[in-house]
Amino acid sequence: MSDLKRGEMQLSGHGLTCVRGGRQVFAGLDFAAVSGEAVAVVGRNGSGKTSLLRLIAGLLVPAGGKIALAGGDAELTLPEQCHYLGHRDALKPALSVAENLTFWAEFLGGERLDFAESLATVGLEHATHLPAGFLSAGQRRRLSLARLLTVRRPVWLLDEPTNALDVAGQDMFGGLMREHLSRGGMIIAATHAPLGIDSRELRIGGTA
């Protein structure tokens, strides 16, 4: 796409169809998002919000249609430029907070921040050496958010990101999302609660 400025990205899906377990979840779904934009995917339970995020993340294969990314790093595939924050938080209870975070930082690679700094941002600096198994649900969510900060990726795919976060945590997270967008990032979030930032709504499967 020639109308994109340097460093800008456009993510789009055309006629996406998703089939899971023999049941058609949605069909003919179109969407588009550009750098600096947040898209809130809304819809009733079971309408396919999570499925859409997993399609974009390459964790599901679309039964029809395609997803295209214009701009971005030409050397990398779309999933490699995405952060996926799902229901399951990818934390090992036996490892400490710091070990969990440094593992993902080393494994995911690329440009990254100091892990202590991102732990301080999400308010977990006091728990660095605590095994992740002792964390509360909200703290686990904060630790997952620290992963998004430590490793820099342009596209954030968030599944119910504010779940289990307290009010202060939601404010903190809103700030993080705004900062990500201002750096030219893109956010696609499946959500029931308001995201806390300006976002465009993408409704799946009719009105809730």
């Binding site: 899971r20 993340a57 390459g58 964790l59 599901l60 294969v61 990398l76 999933p79 490699e80 995405c82 996926y84 799902g86 229901h87 399951r88 938080d89 990818a90 934390l91 090992k92 036996a94 490892l95 070990e99 440094t102 593992f103 993902w104 080393e106 494994f107 995911l108 690679g109 690329g110």
Partner: protein, 222 residues
């Protein structure tokens, strides 16, 4: 490379922590082998003839015991999603996980073998031969077992299915592993021939295992 070494270090660390699988495997191996002399009775000649077979069976079952969690744990907590999405090829990530599993759960079995050899009336040479065949053969058990572990995730069934899938694949390894050890103890064939085949089996599984496991994991995405 950083990514793979990080994955290996993480898996080893988890295996060695409380609740990890490494110690469970060794203890199971120990239990199986210790029980055998009680079952077979005080016939020392018979015990030393059966010794290599008992050690090999114990090692096989012990490695099977911990293998089914190889991908299941990562699948349940969502780590597998992130591993699949990452810049590291899934094949290499699978190989790294298998290597970590072998270092944490396979190597301790080999270290324990000389001690257990005493219980089975094996002399130094025989124990050394069994340990050597285990060193060459257990990678094959881990890397073929990994295919079953990946299928268990894909099919959402763990445990018994895994044993049914993996045990037939490990029969050749068992045959040549025991044959090589028996060659040293009772003869008359040479140690070299079955041992070379055992090494070949390990090398083949080292190549096939990661590709088959990664293909299975990709196919089972959901």
């Amino acid at each position: 490379m950083t990514a793979l070494s990080a994955l290996i270090r993480r898996d080893i660390r988890i295996a060695l922590r409380v609740g990890g699988g490494a110690l469970v495997g060794v203890l199971f191996f120990l239990t199986v082998v210790v029980l055998m002399p009680f079952a077979v009775g005080p016939d020392l000649a018979l015990l030393s003839r059966l010794g290599p077979a008992i050690l090999w069976l114990g090692a096989l079952l012990a490695s099977l015991l911990t293998l089914d969690r190889l991908f299941m744990a990562d699948h349940e907590d969502g780590s597998l999603d992130l591993i699949t999405m990452s810049r590291t090829p899934l094949e290499l990530a699978c190989a790294a996980k298998a290597l970590a599993h072998w270092l944490a759960a396979g190597l301790p079995l080999i270290v324990a073998t000389p001690v257990l050899g005493l219980l089975l009336n094996l002399d130094m040479v025989a124990t050394g031969a069994v340990a050597l065949t285990l060193l060459a053969g257990t990678p094959a058990l881990t890397f073929t077992g990994m295919i079953g572990a990946a299928l268990a995730v894909t099919l959402h069934r763990g445990g018994l299915l895994m044993a049914v899938l993996v045990l037939p694949l490990s029969i050749p390894v068992l045959i040549f592993g025991v044959a090589a050890s028996q060659a040293v103890i009772v003869g008359p064939m040479t140690f070299g021939a079955p041992f070379s085949i055992l090494c070949a089996l390990s090398l083949v599984s080292l190549v096939i295992g990661p590709f088959a496991a990664a293909a299975s994991l990709r196919h089972g995405l959901d």
